[in-house]
């Protein structure tokens, strides 16, 4: 059976900028999103680990499933966002149930 195809967008973002990224994604018209806590990681701007003392550099992961057009808008805005802030954003296709929701 073929099912509707949507884009899943995933971003890793510093907790300090999470609210702004969520606002950015929502402003593109997604129907929902889910955030999870990171535990540790490393990237071009260095290493981090969740330790409760200095939360400033901890990362959160944001997941959102959306239409391809919405994903395009998110990517365009996020490209600017991530020029300045640490973190990454990427996407891939997913098959969904109840496609009208997204």
């Amino acid at each position: 059976m073929t099912r509707p195809i949507r884009k899943k967008v995933i971003a890793v973002v510093e907790t300090a900028h999470l609210r702004r990224l969520i606002d950015l994604i929502k402003s593109c018209g997604v129907s929902g999103l889910t955030v999870i806590d990171g535990r540790e990681g490393s990237g071009v701007t260095g290493d981090w680990v969740r330790d409760g003392v200095s939360e400033a550099v901890e990362m959160k992961i944001v997941h959102a499933v959306m239409t391809a057009e919405t994903a395009e808008r998110v990517f365009d805005k996020a490209a600017v966002f991530f020029e300045r802030y640490p973190g990454i954003i990427y996407s891939h296709d997913v098959e969904v149930v109840r496609g009208e929701r997204f």
């Binding site: 300090a16 900028h17 702004r20 330790d51 409760g52 003392v53 400033a56 640490p86």
Partner: protein, 326 residues
């Protein structure tokens, strides 16, 4: 002099400092000892609640005087101005870029709650009386330095991000530690001795033990950051050791000027000599993402904090005692 050395030794063998050393050791040998993040955060909240409440309850007992206003003013002036010194030193003697230097400078104008907590315990145990209202000064000093830091950075090519401003304003005025400190202070004040009677065991009886557990975690965190010292270079490390001395030294004449007691002067020196590791890093990540957090977190957590905890606190106390004491 002999007294000062005795005090310093007593400090070094206090359980709190020894647990910090244990954390450093465990971190350096890469033991798998870890404190869950939620516990560490819970301990930090406890320390702020307890110190705030104790300060307020003390004020409720002795009443408020103009001393608070003067002390607060002194704190604000120090918090605003110390980053200028720190920035100049960083730019002159180290290779850090302008944004990172500005961000690091802001940390030194602001304060470290746990340094104050450990310091105030030390003062109490050495018989130096400090006023409850110094807790309010602690809270007040947290944020002015952020503004100086941003101003210093703003003169760089890429200033603070204007779109992040609403978040930044909230972080500066309403960050959790300021709200909890001031809130607990006011609650301690409002509920007075009756409130203190009910919370005594919680805010006093447990204080040392939970401080030990928290310092164990601080040691683990500091050890993890020690690696960053290589990046700082020798001049950076020296800055992290000298800047707290400058901060504390700057507080001394100010304290004298406004006629502080030796205990309050020592508390102000501790505040002035300490560097933030909660409020300021959060604000700097928001406003100055280009500044390198590994520089300022290493400076604050792995160099200045251990220095103050072990050497700085007894030193400032002795000097305040010697200069302003009877």
């Amino acid at each position: 002099m002999i007294d000062a050395i005795a005090l310093a030794l007593a400090n070094l063998t206090s359980p709190a400092v020894l647990f910090f050393a244990l954390g450093i050791f465990a971190g350096i040998v890469r033991s798998d000892l870890t404190i869950p993040q939620a516990i560490a955060k819970g301990l930090a909240l406890y320390l702020m609640l307890a110190i705030g409440f104790k300060g307020g309850a003390a004020v409720a007992e002795v009443g408020l005087s103009t001393d608070l206003a003067l002390a607060a003013l002194a704190g604000v002036v120090l918090s605003f101005s110390l980053p200028l010194v720190a920035f100049a030193l960083l730019r002159a003697f180290t290779k850090v870029d302008r944004a990172t230097a500005a961000a690091s400078a802001a940390h030194y104008g602001s304060i470290s709650v746990v340094t104050f907590v450990a310091g105030s315990e030390f003062l109490t145990l050495s018989g130096l009386v400090w006023s409850g209202h110094m807790v309010a000064v602690l809270a007040i000093m947290e944020t002015p330095a952020i503004l100086t830091g941003l101003w210093l950075a703003g003169r760089a090519s890429k200033g603070p991000d204007p779109e992040a401003r609403p978040e930044l304003v909230r972080e500066v005025l309403l960050n959790g530690s300021v709200v909890l400190l001031i809130g607990a202070f006011l609650i301690g004040w409002a509920s007075g001795p009756a409130g203190m009677a009910r919370l005594d065991l919680f805010v006093n009886g447990l204080f040392q033990g939970l401080l030990c557990l928290f310092l164990l975690d601080m040691g683990l965190v500091a050890a993890r950051r020690l690696g960053g010292a290589r990046k700082l270079g020798l001049s950076g490390v020296i800055f992290g050791l000298v800047m707290p001395l400058i901060g504390a030294a700057a507080a001394l004449p100010v304290a004298w000027l406004i006629g502080m007691s030796p205990g309050d002067a020592a508390a102000l020196m501790i505040l002035s000599g300490s560097a933030s590791y909660i409020a300021v890093p959060a604000a700097m990540r928001i406003a100055l993402p280009e500044a390198d957090p590994s520089v300022y977190l290493t400076l604050s957590l792995a160099i200045t904090f251990p220095f103050n905890l072990t050497i700085g606190i007894p030193l400032y106390a002795s000097v305040a005692q010697a200069v302003l004491g009877g």
